[in-house]
Symmetry: C2
Subunit: 558 residues, 2 copies
Amino acid sequence: MNMSKKRILIVGGVAGGATCAARARRLCEQCEILIFDRGPYVSFANCGLPYYVGDVITMEENLLVATPKLFKDRFNIEVYTETEVTRIDRYQKEIEVRDLKTGKIRREPYDALVLAVGAQPIRPPIPGIDLPGIFALRTIPDSRKIRKAVENASQAVIVGGGFVGLEMAENLVRRGLSVTIVEMTNQVVPLLDPEMATFVAAHLQTNGVNLRLNSRVEGFYPRSPGGLSVHTASGDKIDTDLVILSVGVRPETSLAKEAGLVLGEHGGIRVDDQMRTSDPNIWAVGDVVEVRDVITGNWQLVPLAGPAHRQGRIAAAAILGHTNADIHFRGVQGTAVCGVFGLTVAMTGASEKALKRAGIKNYQKIYLHPGSHVGYYPGAKPIHIKLLFSEDDGRILGVQAVGESGVARRVDVISMAIQMGGTVYDLEEAELCYAPQFGAAKDPVNLAGMIAANHLRGDLPLADWEELNKADVQLIDVRSVAEYERSHIAGAKNIPIDELRGRLGELSKDREVWLVCGVGQRAYYATRVLLQNGFRVKNLSGGMQTYATFRNILPFFH
Amino acid sequence: MNMSKKRILIVGGVAGGATCAARARRLCEQCEILIFDRGPYVSFANCGLPYYVGDVITMEENLLVATPKLFKDRFNIEVYTETEVTRIDRYQKEIEVRDLKTGKIRREPYDALVLAVGAQPIRPPIPGIDLPGIFALRTIPDSRKIRKAVENASQAVIVGGGFVGLEMAENLVRRGLSVTIVEMTNQVVPLLDPEMATFVAAHLQTNGVNLRLNSRVEGFYPRSPGGLSVHTASGDKIDTDLVILSVGVRPETSLAKEAGLVLGEHGGIRVDDQMRTSDPNIWAVGDVVEVRDVITGNWQLVPLAGPAHRQGRIAAAAILGHTNADIHFRGVQGTAVCGVFGLTVAMTGASEKALKRAGIKNYQKIYLHPGSHVGYYPGAKPIHIKLLFSEDDGRILGVQAVGESGVARRVDVISMAIQMGGTVYDLEEAELCYAPQFGAAKDPVNLAGMIAANHLRGDLPLADWEELNKADVQLIDVRSVAEYERSHIAGAKNIPIDELRGRLGELSKDREVWLVCGVGQRAYYATRVLLQNGFRVKNLSGGMQTYATFRNILPFFH
């Protein structure tokens, strides 16, 4: 086989597949490169589809990042759309393809085959799932159908409250529909920890979205003269004109399975860190593969565009033996972001529930709610942050952040820190952009690092919110009298921070003192005063703002 | 001396001084902590002053981050405002202070002394510098005077086009004044490299600001019946109602000098990495000290709020022997940001001129102009980026970025990468927030990394823009015919990228081919085609967008 004239076939021409093809061409001018896609388009803007439904993106052609003609003219790559790959013959190193327009079947030989076939929306086996008016959103034709359905609709039910569900909710509200989200679990955005999701739920409700949490759809039923009724296990019957299914995606592994490639425990194709499958001549990239989580080390399905593109580049380099740099896929951090009604929800690394699932125990968590920029400059908005880090060495394990401004920026900085193996001490020391309209001399990232580092240095012992109702402690609220009187945790005694030094006699050294304030700052000051006076003290991280989130999810707080 | 009952005196109660005091209290409840400040306020929002002049911040009290009463009530810290420290008696470990309200002088003993005295605006010795109507902006009383002067003014001259000058320009325009910036060098924002500054200059002019570059003020002269005339060395006479001096600041070292503390070559106090001066009982933090530049290793004056706060925290920990964590000031990256008429200008690490000044030679630079988010989602704005990195190992040396959206975010991510010793390969692999309104699957940070890494791998040889007029090369413009006809570099031949493979015969292998396109992407594709066909090729990084910046600063390009 002539290395410089490989015949590279790529199945699937969106994101990872398209990137792989273009990169392969840049590395090998003489290779033959062909893309096959079952759909009518390649290289389209998958992530833009909800906004096309919402008319934010108004022209369908704007969704086409690259056309077959561009691939041919610019990259000398042949693109076959509406062409299905029906079989892989690993022994002959050929694939069987069917032209969906003519029905004709032919075989195409390969030196290297790349499976970038993506994932399919999950359609749960619920009665009525195939009724008209029930849609999933994955392709341009899907979005075209939904756009058409929206024209005559006034109500929509979205099944699944993940990122795509939220984006659809925003866009359907934008189109004037009344929207209900039906979510099986007890929270929206299941990737978030539940207390952080309460910020998102509240914001959805503020913007007129009906939320049905802990609701499992049991069936879809037609109504006359039109429309559907969505029945839930708890007995709700929700009338609607259309239903959007956004309950996740499943890797499209039928080809791989039939070819006998090794799959992982989550049903994705198993690949090495150069994206090679169990067959040395077949690579796989994108939503169809399982990837290593960089924090837990576990295999996962992470259907995200960024990693898909990186994988496409790496596969191309690996196929072409382009090894003059270390080209290995380092795994996935799960950095993700979603905008919904002006709120940004973002995360990177592991959530607390992911740590628990992975059996990682020696972690700690802090909460903070700093402004997106200094308070004295108009327009600052709180950023609600949960930072997870190793109790052993301060290594950052993950962050979740929710707010109206500056959220992606802070999560991106922490994503880079995680990538580099950073600790909370590194966040403390970060030197970030500061001018009054952009942040603070102590940026939210610095504050997160300082709080966590203070804890690790022993200066700020942390209490567990989850144990608040069980703990036999002196709960002290160090906010002002006025703040305390507006609302406080049952059983909390009020000693305003500025009076604390004069009222130490009111506290006992026999029982732990747990401190709470508005967002955590004053309680930290109080912690320092009490610790140095010989009290046993713990801090309720994030103060009443965090309490409000737990009160929403922990029944005993009510 | 009882470690737990130190008497800590802090001279200067803004930024670093205030932070040092509060942190000292958190670490030592029993210590005596006193702050002395010559001015009427402590802990005020220095960086907010231009926006108070501009009426963005409308209430003066909003500029007060903390009052003496708060320091007393919350932190048990005594604050003496309008109290000048006139002398340090290092042998007695006492300072002499004068109450400016009563004129009384007293002595205060210390165990530890912290000099957080800041810097003073430079007032160059120019004829007329002390005339009424000439202001500098450093304190709340300064801004009050300027606000008053603005009420009866219609014209302002700002001397100095650095960040403060730009912020003042924006705010005076906001107040309805006609503004002229007089800048001695050939560019605005002298911290930027000159070609990057051209984006800022153009934006200032678009927003009605008059720019006089290469203009040295020779004198200020009174006009009758009122106002001033600013005369420049080149013979300009600019009439104005008021003048703002923003030509930088100078560390306030009179006390330190008189006490015999060691100063550095730039006139700041020399400290170790725990902020200790040459006297083991005296620390110094903030604008008054010299700091190590993390990239060049050189001592520098970097008057920025973020580092001042970090230094204050470190000094407090050092004074109190709080060494249960590595507390060392790691130096300054020079991360800075400025917003001006909706444009964000940000940077971190070294500029090219700083590298040259430091004698660092083996660096490389790339330019790119990606959108702040994907083009198919409305509202994307270009971010103009210059990335500097080591040709040896890809270590990131610095970045400058200018644009209307998403600029601080990308600079912050790269700042974190620099802090962690990251390379351009790390930028390539970064996993950042992506949804259509937030970025791109290949984020600008990834693109910067990819371009630089492509270069280091030998896939993308770079040409020097500065040598374009000297080089005997085949200059090929691979944009479309229409783009080429609108404007192109003199001598460039047009071969559109999509025709390149068919027109290789028009190129000679005897002379280098230099490629240019719109922003660099198509030229990169062309580079790959030509390199693999045996041509000697270089790429003009950043394409015609970068060319336009050089044409503004290199006379031979005209």
